[in-house]
């Protein structure tokens, strides 16, 4: 239900993709994320990519967290 790991798409072959995370490679199905492209990060759950990671949002979230942290340092 819960374990999904962000992996990077290295190559695509029809409904399947070769993905990589820190040197570990695994063939996954992109049947649920046909819009995924090479270079995208996808969330991998039990051998299937269930969603494409929104890198812009990821950046925004980190920026928000940095702001929150800097406010706490002021005190």
């Amino acid at each position: 239900m819960c374990l999904a790991v962000p992996v990077r798409i290295v190559s695509i072959d029809g409904h399947e993709a070769e993905t990589e995370i820190a040197g570990v490679r695994r063939r996954v199905s992109i049947a649920l994320t046909p819009e995924a492209k090479v270079g995208d990060y996808v969330l991998l759950h039990t051998g299937y990519a269930i969603g494409v990671v929104d890198e812009a949002e990821a950046e925004e979230t980190l920026k928000l967290l940095e702001e929150i942290a800097s406010l706490s340092e002021v005190h």
């Binding site: 374990l3 790991v5 820190a22 040197g23 570990v24 490679r25 695994r26 759950h45 039990t46």
Partner: protein, 334 residues
């Protein structure tokens, strides 16, 4: 002789003798073994250490090693963990009928190489063959004898408050490389098992310090289980920091994918040492000179607080309890 092992190879007759003389002995040759008497005779005086272990690993060939290398290193390491210099090993093999002789020879070659590196001789052995289905390809048992120098007293019960906990290198390599080969879990990586003989590393450490209190290799159950064993045996508490524990990137990634924690994954070429705080830095520097200790680090210390328990400061900051592994290490989806 054909390609595969037959029941007759284990029955003691001509084929058995042929198997030993043609396919096994050439790899292990040494004066004691070559006599092929019922027992090997040797002389040794002083405090002797004696250990035994069986090896049933599946798959029998894995990245970085095989069951043969494991069988030698595992027993050599058990002797080294009590500060003993390993001298002699016995080797028993239970082979499933139909096993390929070429694979047997490959394993014997690994055994030869490992024994040479560890500078031990295999001086006695036994071979049995069982019906197909009665053994999972090959089971090996090795027993070993070693000698402990006077003054060396290493035991899991010797840890004292204030001691430092040292780890000889990255954890999880062996377990993850084995898992990556299992049906149903296939993922590819360059990672290899860390299977290695640690006796020379231990003797180098003993050269620079006489205050090494405990040694153990974190095999099944991983680092977490070994630390808990020490905490219970010595009746002390252990405090460790997650950020200090060396883990390879690939192992981290594989653990993320499978839902595992590297501190519970098996190692076959690593060692936890508990040493006097005054000697810790010197011992660490010495370890780093050896290729099997190049990633060594101080990962924690012994305390008189919470005896029998292991506490870990997480990457995030707060601390939590680290328990022994219970049950099997299984991948999860959830």
């Amino acid at each position: 002789m054909g390609d595969t092992i037959l029941l007759a190879h284990g029955s003691g007759g001509k084929l058995s003798h042929e198997l030993v003389e043609k396919n096994l002995l050439p790899f292990l040759s040494n004066p004691a073994l070559n006599k092929l008497d019922d027992s090997a005779i040797f002389e040794a005086s002083g405090r002797l250490a004696f250990t035994t272990d069986s090896y049933v690993v599946n798959p029998i060939f894995f990245p970085g090693g095989d069951i043969g290398k494991l069988a030698v290193c595992g027993t050599v390491n058990d002797l080294a963990m009590n500060g003993a210099k390993p001298l002699y090993l016995s080797l028993s093999a239970i082979i499933e009928e139909g096993f390929l002789i070429s694979e047997l020879e490959q394993i014997m070659q690994s055994i030869k190489k490992a024994a040479e590196e560890a500078e031990v001789s295999i001086i006695t052995g036994d071979t049995k063959v069982v019906n197909q289905g009665q053994a999972d390809k090959l089971f090996i048992t090795t027993s070993g004898v070693g000698i402990i120098s006077p003054g060396v007293d290493i035991s899991g019960a010797n840890a004292r408050a204030g001691d430092k906990v040292l780890l000889s290198g990255t954890i999880g390599d062996h377990g993850i490389s084995i898992m990556s080969q299992r049906e149903g879990l296939r993922f590819s990586m360059t990672l290899e098992s860390d299977c290695a003989p640690l006796n020379k590393l231990v003797s180098q450490m003993l050269e620079v310090s006489s205050k090494i209190h405990c040694l153990r290799d974190p095999t099944r159950g991983g680092l977490a289980t070994t630390l808990n064993e020490f905490a219970r045996q010595s009746k002390v508490g252990i405090v460790t920091e997650e950020v200090k524990i060396p883990v390879k990137r690939e192992v981290q990634a594989a653990c993320e994918l499978l839902g595992l924690d590297p501190i519970y994954v098996a190692n076959e070429g690593k060692m936890v040492s508990i040493v006097d705080p005054g000697d810790a830095d010197r011992i660490l520097a010495q370890m780093k000179q050896n290729s099997y200790g190049k990633d060594a680090a101080i990962i924690g210390e012994i305390t008189k607080e919470h005896p029998g328990k292991v506490i870990m400061k997480t990457k995030l900051g707060p601390s939590r309890i680290v328990d022994m592994l219970s049950g099997e290490l299984l991948p999860r989806i959830c």
